[in-house]
Symmetry: C2
């Protein structure tokens, strides 16, 4: 009895609401959870009274409520790494003209927690809150390569023809990443998008996140990547220094 059933069901409902495109009906919820309509109805009513869900008056379907946005903000604003990283992200955008991102490890995936947009009209925006796989993104590879505690993902799903799907190839690739101190994503997750990222460490040398830039392959030619890598690494190193002082 280590898990509160009805709370767990409520949380599952939140996830279902997040996945659903156009809201979810009570009957669908009941089917998905394997409970009666009445139970599903009461559960989501509770979610609604606390602002975590909302009912569309006409269709009677439920969707996520504004409360989740508030919670998210609380989490993000209370993240020291995010505060410290912001100026470096801006700096990266200034120096490279591409979008800059900050990600941390969350549930075996890379969670994008901040972004500064490029001024270019063609830009690669990855919304804050996005979860991306570790094995085919530059930020993810950084987390994977420099975090000793983490194991390689069992599955290496393919997103583009360039995605590394062989565990052994990935292992070697990560070793190289460790050696050179930065990671590259060469159209392995999104067609036509290249990324460069470097790890951020705390005072104990533990990886706490990664910062990097993403841009269209056209602008981010392979020959220019080493230059970008240097810029990103410099920023990451300086940010790591900053984080070392905030021993929280």
């Amino acid at each position: 009895m280590a898990e509160i059933q009805s709370l767990a069901r409520g949380l599952k409902i939140l996830e279902l609401l997040a996945q659903a495109e156009n809201g979810v009906s009570v009957t669908e919820l009941a089917e998905e959870l394997g409970v009666d309509k009445s139970s599903a109805s009461r559960l989501i009513q509770t979610l609604a009274t606390y602002g975590f869900a909302e009912q569309d008056p006409t269709s009677r379907r439920y969707r996520l409520g504004p409360q989740v946005v508030r919670l998210s903000r609380s989490l993000l604003t209370r993240m020291p790494l995010r505060d410290e990283a912001k100026p470096f992200l801006r700096q990266l955008v200034e120096r490279t003209g591409e979008c800059a991102h900050l990600a941390i490890l969350a549930q075996g995936q890379a969670l994008y927690v901040d972004q500064v947009e490029s001024p270019a009209s063609l830009r690669v925006t990855t919304g804050v809150g996005t979860l991306a796989p570790l094995h085919c993104t530059a930020l993810g590879k950084c987390l994977l390569a420099f975090d000793n505690g983490i194991a390689l993902p069992k599955e290496l799903p393919s997103y583009t023809p360039r995605t590394i799907t062989d565990p052994e190839v990935l292992r070697l690739h990560l070793e190289q990443t460790r050696r050179q101190g930065y990671a590259i994503d060469d159209e392995e997750y999104d067609f036509g998008v290249r990324c460069v990222a470097a790890p951020v460490f705390d005072y104990r040398g533990k990886v706490i996140g990664a910062i990097g830039i993403s841009g269209p392959a056209g602008r981010m030619g392979l020959d220019r990547l080493p230059h970008y890598a240097q810029v990103v690494m410099d920023a990451a190193r300086e940010l790591s220094n900053r984080m070392s002082f905030r021993r929280s």
Copy 2:
């Protein structure tokens, strides 16, 4: 029995986690909820297994988990208004040099759901997910003035000496807002910050949100406000047109 107790308690815990600066201990949770330590422990364990809470390994205190950021993203990306508004927010920043915001009504407050930052080094950023009072912000006043269904807030707390705290004064002020088609916040919520906002309507003429700009009082002189108001209203009107086509 219209409310599932344990789910409600779990949601209250989430709110407590959001408010707490440095995480919350199990004992604190138990006290706050009026339940036993053991119950609080099991509730938050359930939250943790689903990624809604995280335990700091050293301090054993709990904080919000990454799952809430994911949910938030789902909600925000599924918001048609947000997609449509983005280019107009960028346009506002370009034309005025100040930060632009989009807000909707949520739980009797203005919820900031998007922002485009000003390039100026002195800028007014209001994080996405912020809740602000309706009676002393430009975006809030728009929602208040143009939404027929909504009642005036009972309490009109004061944030600066300029905050309107008299209901009658506010009523007249909102009438003027309706007449002129835009709202102003003249340092009524934040010292030294002025805002201008205009409402966004759907195809039925119902307010679905508001967009506006915020800047330091130094740059946003009172004499320039009418000009800014025109720019904001133009954008809001065009955005309203766009929204009329998406009859969802």
